[in-house]
């Protein structure tokens, strides 16, 4: 059997900082309960909106006596952050806050998040445990291509990687040719970025005279956007690295809420700091482990901005089944779609990830695509634009028409709806150097 560059790596020793990942369950639950009580108390004392909502329910912090009681607490929504812009949900005075981040608001004002010194330490801790979980350690050279700045990705990964003792290259996002040059010349062994941006790097590597398969790069920590198992397979096949899924969101802390271990069996939630629930996104009712629904998170150790039952809009399921790695932390299933990204066409709910699966199932198609929704004579029309790649380009019209037809059939089978497939020239669709824009809704409602 051929040795891949991953097989060739030495076995990693256990990193002591990962100890909380392996807490016996009764201890973990007890720790969570104590921290939950404290955070509810803190929010009730310092956050007016939370106090008001508790009052409306006739509840006080003392009503939280077990972890199950969390289901009685009010939700926090993204709109709460907008409505209280900029500092309305802070539970610490500004003099204790050492850092502010803000999200890219697609509509109107951004949302602002805050960290005390203690919060930055918690964040560093979970990011450090994230890197350790996928086998990185001191000695690794980490190219951090998450954006630095107001976005939480860059600095979050940076602090964790430094705490690990790795060599960090704070290259931030963008400038693809330079990314590839640095990857090669600095002997980079691990990279952090969005999965779609890494696919873009793979695409551009030959032009830069770089063969990623021959580089020391062995690990990718990918997150900040939904992706699929097919994308993972493609990344691993085309670059010879192991691709790990990291999950996080600014409202909770940034990256490092959950991270895959070497088993690549879904991200483990760092439950000692983030309490996960799954709810039915329409009714708000809790779902049992294993059932798919919207992920709701409560921060258990955050001072500046406690988030209680924050609705992430991410669709996933929690699994309590033991993982081979021995971590007691529950795992979330890979988040491949967001309640927000879903669109409804002719009454059918469609997620971009379904289209992606359909395209990938047709041999050789790379996931550079865009979905355009229009309305013609009162009828919704879905067009899927797919870039032609050298792999699928035969030089006869017949070959291209067969490809078009196959893609169309695959979408129809997966989604249950007909789509017009349009083949377009390479590099004509908008590339994401941050989050991918998959759906263009041009319907006039």
């Amino acid at each position: 059997m051929l040795m891949t560059k991953h097989d060739a790596r030495q076995n990693r020793s256990f990193h002591p900082v990962s100890a909380p990942d392996f807490l016996p369950l009764p201890q973990l639950r007890e720790l969570q309960l104590q921290r939950l009580k404290a955070i509810v108390q803190r929010a009730d004392e310092h956050v007016a909106l939370f106090r008001k909502r508790m009052k409306e329910r006739g509840m006080t912090p003392r009503d939280v006596q077990s972890l199950e009681d969390i289901a009685r607490l009010p939700f926090t929504e993204k709109s709460d952050l907008r409505d209280t812009y900029p500092f309305g949900l802070f539970a610490s005075p500004l003099k204790e806050i050492v850092r502010l981040h803000a999200s890219s608001g697609t509509t109107g004002k951004p949302i602002v998040v805050a960290y005390t010194q203690q919060d930055v330490q918690v964040w560093t801790n979970v990011m450090l445990r994230s890197f350790a979980a996928c086998g990185l350690h001191a000695g690794d050279i980490i190219q951090n291509a998450y954006g630095y700045g107001l976005f939480t990705g860059g600095l979050g990964a940076h602090y964790g990687a430094e705490a690990l003792g790795a060599t960090v290259i704070p290259i931030s996002g963008g400038n693809t040719q330079r990314q590839l040059m640095v990857m090669k010349d600095f002997g980079v062994t691990a990279i952090c970025c969005t999965p779609s941006y890494f696919l873009h790097l793979i695409d551009q590597a030959p032009e830069a005279g770089v063969n990623i398969k021959e580089l020391p790069l062995h690990t990718g920590v990918f997150g900040a956007e939904p992706w699929t198992e097919n994308m993972r397979r493609r990344i691993e096949e085309d670059s010879g690295i192991k691709a790990y899924d990291i999950y996080g969101l600014s409202e909770i802390i940034g990256p490092g809420v959950a991270m895959e271990c070497a088993c690549q069996a879904g991200p483990h939630v760092f439950e000692d700091y983030f309490y996960p629930e799954i709810i039915d996104s329409r009714t708000g009712a809790p779902c049992p482990d294993g059932q798919e629904g919207e992920l709701v998170l409560t921060t258990l150790g955050k001072e500046a901005m406690p988030m209680i039952r924050y609705r992430t809009r991410d669709i996933t399921a929690l699994t309590a089944e033991p993982c081979e790695c021995g971590r007691t932390l529950r795992r979330i299933r890979r988040i491949s779609r967001r309640a927000d990204d879903m669109f409804i066409i002719r009454g059918v709910n469609v997620y971009p990830s379904q289209i992606e699966t359909a395209l990938l199932n047709v041999e050789g198609a790379l996931p550079h695509y865009q979905i355009i929704l229009t309305r013609e004579k009162g009828l919704d029309v879905m067009e899927v634009q797919v870039e032609v790649t050298p792999e699928v380009f035969g030089d006869t019209v017949g070959a291209l028409e067969r490809l078009q037809e196959k893609l169309g059939k695959s979408i129809e089978t997966t989604v249950g709806l007909r789509a017009n497939v349009r083949l377009v020239q390479p590099r004509t669709l908008q590339r994401s150097e941050g989050k991918a824009k998959r759906v263009l809704d041009q319907r006039k409602m």
Partner: protein
């Protein structure tokens, strides 16, 4: 005996053709033939060009998807039955014509046909047996502008 042809994927929209042609002109790469197969949505631009490797690299750098096909160029006498004789030579063989187009060499004014066969080598062998000699790329570009 085979001649390299470049095929480009183009979207069927105004200006799609002029960009690659202008790029090649600017690089002083001479077009010997140009043919287009198209549908309502997309087209395939087929080119036989001097220095095809250079042209391919240039077009790919500019974001085009380029496919290289081996063509067989055959000189056809300007008289009735010229093409029929060529095709007859291929009867009783498993060789298939996928597409073809005609062009002329400007200096000699001769009629030439470019064939895309499913099996160019088998086609060349069958043609030679019947006394039909394909034109080499050296001969082709001799007749073209430098």
């Amino acid at each position: 005996m085979k001649v390299k042809q470049l095929s480009l994927f183009l979207e069927n929209q105004p200006g799609a053709l002029s960009r690659p042609v202008a790029l090649l002109a600017k690089a002083k790469l001479n077009l010997l033939t140009l043919s287009i197969a198209d549908t309502r949505q997309f087209g395939i631009l087929r080119l036989i060009v001097s220095e095809w490797e250079k042209a391919k690299a240039l077009l790919e750098r500019e974001g085009f998807v380029v496919n290289v096909a081996e063509m067989v160029a055959i000189e056809v006498a300007d008289e009735p039955g010229g093409l029929a004789r060529v095709l007859e030579a291929l009867e009783q063989t498993p060789v298939n014509v996928q597409y073809m187009y005609g062009f002329t060499l400007r200096r000699e004014g001769k009629g030439l046909l470019a064939f895309r066969f499913n099996d160019p080598d088998a086609a060349i062998a069958a043609l030679r047996k019947k006394g039909v000699n394909p034109v080499s790329s050296v001969e082709l570009f001799k007749g073209a502008h430098p």
